[in-house]
């Protein structure tokens, strides 16, 4: 493996971290606790404290009350936004998996050097700000943008298509930004599938497609589920890309929160929305985790 693919592997492969944690838990705790302490302090100050503040705001602003939460649950507008948020995240996840799986497959199966080039192509966008990438899409998708100009010149369309400030724009932008999060976990799992297993399948009479369907695909599911979890959870809280590429009707929960806090200075309600988003995200993670546990080695798929 090239250096970069190794880096990519370690970014998404959580096992070393889990093992490190087990080591901490097992052996002489105190000395190791000291090593963890700086991070722990940073997390407490920058993460736990603000979270507690938000939780307090949502319940105590301006006086102890549950009305912010009641508002979220009873007002159809907010439920509608919640629905759009989940729908968008789900669609983006499906798009990322559909585009990412073949790409990860090629990366994991082509010979060394070409795989290295592909990995760089997947990782480079990571180093570019999301804002810059979103503006790039505005240049591409606008009325006089690259895509429309090309289509008009070729005579495919007679009038420019509406490609942004609507749901299409949101999907394109978010899928692009989140694609590496889908590709890398799937690549990491696929790369670790023992090639002898595929040889064994062929030796036993399976053609290429059968060995893919019966052996490679079930074993790659672990990566698919991690990829789906990563993309879905990231998409739930996405802000910049949908805000810039979406239309007036494509309001996601994160944008609603921003409006409550920045425009309406309604801190209590904004905080309640944030807590709801956080809670739902955790719920999704728990569901994925359960799925991940059972999908390990695909016993769900092949169980008898």
């Amino acid at each position: 493996m090239t250096a970069i693919s190794r880096v990519a592997g370690s970014i998404v492969d959580a096992r070393p971290w889990i093992r490190a944690w087990e080591a901490v838990a097992e052996r002489d705790g105190l000395r190791r606790l000291l090593l963890v302490l700086p991070t722990l302090v940073v997390l407490l100050v920058l993460f736990v404290a603000p979270l507690t503040a938000i939780l307090r705001l949502s319940l105590l602003d301006p006086a102890p009350t549950a009305r912010h939460y009641l508002e979220v649950v009873t007002n159809p507008t907010y439920l509608h936004v919640l629905g759009i948020t989940f729908e968008t995240a789900a669609l983006v996840t499906l798009l990322c998996l559909a585009l990412g799986y073949p790409l990860a497959y090629v990366m994991a199966t082509v010979p060394g050097r070409l795989a290295g080039v592909l990995i760089i192509l997947v990782i480079v966008p990571f180093w570019i700000s999301v804002l810059v990438r979103t503006y790039a899409w505005m240049v591409m998708l606008g009325r006089g943008g690259l895509v429309n100009t090309l289509l008009l010149r070729l005579g495919v369309v007679e009038e420019p298509l509406r490609l942004m400030h609507n749901f299409v724009g949101v999907l394109v932008g978010m899928t692009h930004v989140l694609l590496p999060f889908a590709v890398l976990p799937m690549y990491s799992v696929m790369k670790n599938i023992d090639r002898d297993l595929l040889r064994a399948a062929e030796n036993l009479g399976a053609n290429r497609w059968q060995s893919f369907r019966r052996v490679f695909f079930p074993l790659s599911l672990l990566g698919v589920v991690s990829a789906a979890a990563l993309v879905f959870v990231s998409a739930l809280g996405f802000f910049i890309t949908p805000a810039l590429l979406g239309g007036p009707r494509d309001v996601l929960l994160s944008m609603l929160i921003e409006r409550q806090v920045n425009d309406l200075t309604n801190w209590g309600f904004g905080s309640a929305l944030a807590v709801v988003l956080l809670g739902l995200t955790l719920l999704v993670l728990i569901v994925f985790r359960r799925f991940l546990g059972t999908a390990a080695w695909g016993s769900v798929v092949e169980g008898r």
Partner: protein, 367 residues
Amino acid sequence: MTDGVSAGHLELVGLSRHFGDTLAVDRVSLTILAGEFVTLLGPSGSGKTTTLMMIAGFVRPSAGEIHLAGRPITRTPPYRRNVGMVFQNYALFPHMTVFNNVAFSLEMRGIRKREIAGRVGEALDLVKLAGYEGRLPRQLSGGQQQRVALARALVFNPPVLLMDEPLGALDKKLREHMQLELKRLQAALGLTVLYVTHDQEEALVLSDRIAVMNHGRIEQVGRPPELYETPANDFVAAFIGESNFFEATLVDRLDARWVAETPKKLRFVVPDRDGLRLGQHVRLSLRPEKVAVEHGTGSDYAGVVEETIYIGGVTKLMVRLEDSDETVTLVRLNSTGLPAIRRGDQVRLGWDPADVKLLASRSEETR
């Protein structure tokens, strides 16, 4: 059966494989008869696994042909070759139960469910794993995984079984046990087996015939005693068992025998053979267990014990000869009643001239 050749008959004709500039397999020709157990024996990188991979169809030969039961299979894709294979690390499908692993090949062949259940049961009986159908591979020990791999490779009745160092991952005791069991199965089912290993002892235990490979070429093919007693060259002599090697020159002729002398003036009597001439440079091999030893002095082969290594049933002795300063290694049974020989003892050595083997020195051999 095709053309009167039985199903298990496997023939390799001038098989070669390049990887870039390196020749991994160099014109290998070998015939494996139906029901025969043949082993490719050689150090790592000698081309034995590549040869096996070409037979299974995972590596395309650069040149040469493979015939199975008289039919060319050189360009047949792996999944249509119908060749059984046991992989080095078993390659059991980790997401499938033992049953599904063994049933896989039958499902691929479109066999009906009821028949599959019966045949999988038989195959698991054969390797003594009945009752383990529902387990996953990771819930089995190494030896059990090995048996599943064997059952999976046998269940579709392949005419030939290829095995790539299948016992390498097991500990010594289990390995020896599995060797005997494999031998029993092979005899009972009349299997044709092509086995790959770097372990000379394993090859001697299992094989009807052994093909010793080095640098992609077959150095010698023969039954185990032939290879051990009359190795064709110094590589084979060194790889199978241990030996004392001497570089020597033919200095004299006595009737039908030659006298060979090493640069340090140690003399051997060597049986005559075609093509030997006076002054010729030869390589000699003398197996350690062919050397007799007793306390004493005053012989051509008298010396001092420099080292003794106790290995349970036998003791290995290294003796430096007085006259010639050559070192001879020998092994001696640790039988009760024999006087112990210790380091520093004065000893006399002796051997039957017929046990001194002339080797084709590979530097002189025409390639």
